[in-house]
Amino acid sequence: MSELVRMDASAMAEALRSGGVSSVELTQAHLDRIAEVDGPVESGVHAFLHVDAEGALARARELDAARSRGEELHELAGVPVAVKDVMVTRGMPSTAGSRMLEGWVPPYDATVVEQMRAAGLVTLGKTNMDEFAMGSSTEHSAFGPTRNPWAADRIPGGSGGGSAAALAAFEAPLATGTDTGGSIRQPAAVTGTVGVKPTYGGVSRYGLIALASSLDQGGPCARTVLDTALLHEVMGGHDPRDSTSLTDPVPAVVAAAREGARGDLTGVRVGVVREMGRAGHDEGYQAGVLARFEEALDHLRSAGAEVVEVGCPNVEHALGAYYLILPSEASSNLARYDGMRYGLRVLPTDVDPAEVTAEQVMAATRAKGFGPEAKRRIILGTYALSSGYYDAYYGSAQKIRTLVQRDFDAAFEQVDVLVSPTAPTTAFRLGEKLDDPLAMYRGDVATIPANLAGIPGMSLPVGLAPEDGLPVGLQLLAPAREDARLYRVGAALEARLHAQWGGKLLDRVPDWTPASTTGAPA
């Protein structure tokens, strides 16, 4: 592995500016790394669904030429990025992990893709994900799971497991994600990387293939808090093409990360959410996760923060509310896959093609195009929205949403940020929860409340669980529009942990060993 791929994005940017490396060299080093570890599908990391080597090198050459002409370039110009396959890219396949969109080449770019191109980021390719972002393991990808670079038999989280694994395997220094119930934060936690779900509306949803529109939020993924902030500022900002986009300026997250890196949190009030893993509320939380979380609290205290426990009682109902609201919105959003205008079309085999109706084609197409989890959630949403159940289920879930928001509002009157473990456990084994949807859903218990309330959240690595040697993530939450607080506190904690470890957690990721293809879960 070239040492280039181990650098932070901020260090790559600096080396590009000083002329120490070219974008072509950096891009080639990452393409080589992808070729080394990403395949084959049966045993490689499989973080990528599509690699655009030719396009990436062509873009890198353009940027190197622009730099040599003395053109003024964005700070990150020439740095490679991996793009989650839920973000549409003009001229490049965008499947969202579904057979429904296999082979579809979008005729337009998502706003975030435009923003990254304008900043001179070099798109390496598209990353694997659970189908239409439904899942916590990437096992629901129609194209085969991604493997965790820490251990090939473990899940990399989901839905954005491809992006997180690409970072942890040094296949890309920056990546994008979308977070509807934790799809940025949970993969970050289980791969030892950093991910941020911005305030709802902080990053444009235009061109992000929709799952649940009142919850979906695009955001940045990277290996350090500062790198995450650098990408956040590229992706953020108002977009007139997204009517739910915030009109506020992008929060100054890079400045916050740099300030936080000095390690001083004097006067910062940190609230530990009682209902997310504290005594009496720790059912399902792994001992090693709680132990690393406690140590992180000690670091926050020694940085000068005041750490108190706060109650958010309604977050205990958030999981139930989420798994009513999400399927309801998803069943509506996924109605667009009807086999008529783009994507898959399947003709039923038992009907005369001359007599076949649009409705029969639609039902055959959706039967073939959607995987089991997508079907489960579409049917569940159809149920929750049907007359007779609507008030009891969807209506109650919306009221829980209000109660969760009120809990957070009250908590943020007492403290500046909230913390919890990001996920109750480290990465579980591939196949372990595949046919037990409820067990899979319960892993989202700590990440979901932020999506219901629209507040920003970050996951950053706080060590390895002693019992399995796998990464543990800490979640930070802040009030809406206060994304910068995540970066200040996150960078301070990261600085103290790096000092304790004498480096980064990812320095300890083992050399990639492909999965055994005999007897390994499919």
């Binding site: 979008p106 783009y342 079309r345 076949v356 959706r366 049917i379 569940l380 109650s396």
Partner: protein, 106 residues
């Protein structure tokens, strides 16, 4: 909690326009019953919250208190017909070609 019988799941699958063989319906009915059982606690939680406060809890459909968002009505670049049709399963004369949509039972 009401279990979701197979007939009801079959009805929902028809509403959602997904062909589903019997074996899949059985499996899904079992899983959905467990999921609905687990999430149905929201109804009781809301009832308790409303009883405690003596106030109805308003519903939240969206995290931001947004009102209608408008933009100036100006002509901008849009997709060409060729771009829009490029991903179509079938097209003809600059239009999507689809199976017949009239004369169905449903």
């Amino acid at each position: 909690m009401p279990a979701l019988p197979r007939e009801e799941v079959a009805h929902l699958a028809r509403l959602a326009r997904i062909d589903m063989p019997d074996a899949e319906l059985d499996h899904l009915a079992e899983q959905l019953t467990a999921i609905v059982d687990a999430v149905a606690s929201v109804t009781g939680a809301v009832a308790r919250a409303e009883a405690e406060s003596g106030q109805p809890v308003p519903a939240t459909s969206h995290p931001l208190p947004l009102r209608n968002v408008t933009r100036p009505d100006v002509v901008v670049q849009t997709l060409t017909a060729a771009d829009a049709l490029a991903g179509a399963p079938e097209s003809e004369d600059d239009k999507f070609r689809v199976p017949r949509i009239l004369g169905e039972d449903a």
